[in-house]
């Protein structure tokens, strides 16, 4: 079971029409190498789930601007100035979720739960726009949101071993750990030289090896 591969091979697994979860908050923790390669390989009709879409200069932002993305699910897109116009002209569909709802929908998808029950967005445009469905449970009103899953998850990690165990550093973790559970295929772009199985302390591991399918070593 060799999980180590190249950026080219890892990204070649993505099919046109796939739903991708791409990690990162602003550009921290985003696998820039993988996003750049998705542009290069000209993958089409993608749906992308990410917190904020990066910025127009980042590979993820350029991918969203490329015309090859049919839908984005984000919590914020303040750096992507052209996105609202692209939405208006029908070039792309934008779904905005409260950030806490977005991460929890991804967790529900990855952890086999039926969805999220939250107060976030209740009695707001989120509910009016039909993104959440009001349910009455345990004596209270909640907004229900269905789980999110992806065909492929692409994230950045700081350390890894060749079994796929992952560690993050600082604010690199953000959506990255949870997204690993919600992708049918998981690709991690690893910053530091990838270690051998057993070289990471078992209590410190943030994503368990069996969940990760492919590892790409960033240039070191």
């Amino acid at each position: 079971m060799n999980k180590l591969t190249t950026v080219e091979e890892a990204v070649s697994i993505i099919k046109d029409g796939d739903t991708l979860m791409i990690g990162g908050f602003y550009t921290v923790g985003t696998p820039h190498d993988l996003a750049e390669e998705i542009i290069r390989q000209n993958k089409k009709d993608l749906t992308i789930i990410n917190n904020d879409g990066g910025n127009p200069d980042s590979p993820l932002g350029r991918l969203i601007y490329s015309g090859n993305v049919k839908k984005v699910i984000l919590s914020w897109c303040g750096y992507l100035n052209e996105l609202p116009d692209m939405v208006k002209s029908g070039k792309i569909e934008l779904e905005l979720n409260p950030q806490g709802t977005l991460i929890e929908r991804i967790r529900a998808g990855g952890f086999g739960l039926g969805g999220v029950l939250t107060k976030s967005g209740i009695n707001t445009i989120i509910e009016e726009a039909g993104y959440g469905k009001r349910v009455h449970l345990n004596g209270e009103d909640w907004l229900y949101h269905p789980p999110l899953k992806a065909d492929v998850t692409l994230i950045e990690a700081y350390k890894a071993d060749n079994f796929g165990n992952l560690l993050f550093r600082g604010t690199q973790r953000n959506f990255n750990d949870i997204m690993c559970y919600a992708g049918n295929i998981v690709i991690a772009s690893v910053k530091k030289p990838i270690k051998k199985k057993g070289e990471l302390a078992p209590d410190t591991i943030m994503v368990q090896g069996p969940v990760v399918d492919y590892l790409v070593q960033q240039e070191v």
Partner: protein, 229 residues
């Protein structure tokens, strides 16, 4: 510092600094606090020395420290406002699921946000102008339903002088019936079941001026006092 020096310092505070200074007085030692972008970032410098607060960042920090010094930026230490930051001794990093768990679960003691509009019911609109540029709500909708105390820290009126504290918000809401306290450069107002309770006014205004600059009905507190800023 003698009294006249102190007076000078106070006089040089901008509107925003006054608001920040008043909000800073609400925190207790050990409070976990989420400070929004803009005005709320001025608050930490007004926190009394004997009070240690813990700043929470949505992207996964408890104990956000001062901005990183030029040349000492760590590319993986970035706060929720996209600034290179540091972390205080005792701080911790974690993922978004835990971060919003802390928020939704009521573990964040205070969240301080700006407002486009706020109203008598405690409704808050601070993320979207109808027909305006769409930027998204980020974590604001979670913060206003989850934090123990939701503080709106905002100038009393819009740039063109019209009231921000309304009978009823007209912009899309960030949260319904969520605001606990409104702090402006003129007033400290509590949201109560009976309506907006004016508890303090700044030294350089009058109750009448505050009323005239507020569309919402204000209940004047019996023990109304002067804001200590």
């Amino acid at each position: 510092m003698n009294v006249s020096e102190q007076l000078t310092v106070v006089k040089t505070l901008s509107k925003k600094e006054k608001i920040a200074k008043r909000v800073a007085q609400m925190f207790r030692d050990g409070s976990l606090v989420n400070l929004g972008v803009g005005l709320p970032t001025l608050i930490p410098s007004f926190i009394p020395k004997e009070v240690e607060i813990w700043a929470h960042a949505e992207n996964g920090i408890v104990g956000v420290g001062p901005p990183a010094l030029k040349g000492e930026e760590d590319y993986l230490y970035v706060d929720a406002g996209n600034r290179f930051c540091t972390i205080k001794p005792g701080g911790s990093f974690f993922g978004s699921a835990t971060s919003f768990g802390l928020i939704r679960g009521g573990h964040v003691d205070f969240t301080v946000l700006g407002a486009m509009q706020v109203d008598e019911e405690g409704n808050l609109a601070n993320w979207m102008v109808p027909g305006g540029k769409m930027a998204g709500m980020g974590g604001a909708m979670d913060l206003v339903v989850g934090a123990k105390k939701v503080i709106v820290a905002s100038e009393h009126c819009t740039r063109d002088g019209s009231p921000k504290i309304l009978k009823k918000c007209t912009f899309p809401l960030t949260g319904a019936r969520v605001v606990d306290i409104i702090v402006t450069e003129l007033a400290y107002i509590e949201v109560t079941p009976e309506g907006l309770l004016l508890k303090e006014i700044s030294a350089d205004t009058t109750i009448d001026e505050v009323i005239s600059k507020t569309e919402a009905e204000l209940i004047i507190a019996d023990d109304i006092s002067v804001m200590n800023v």
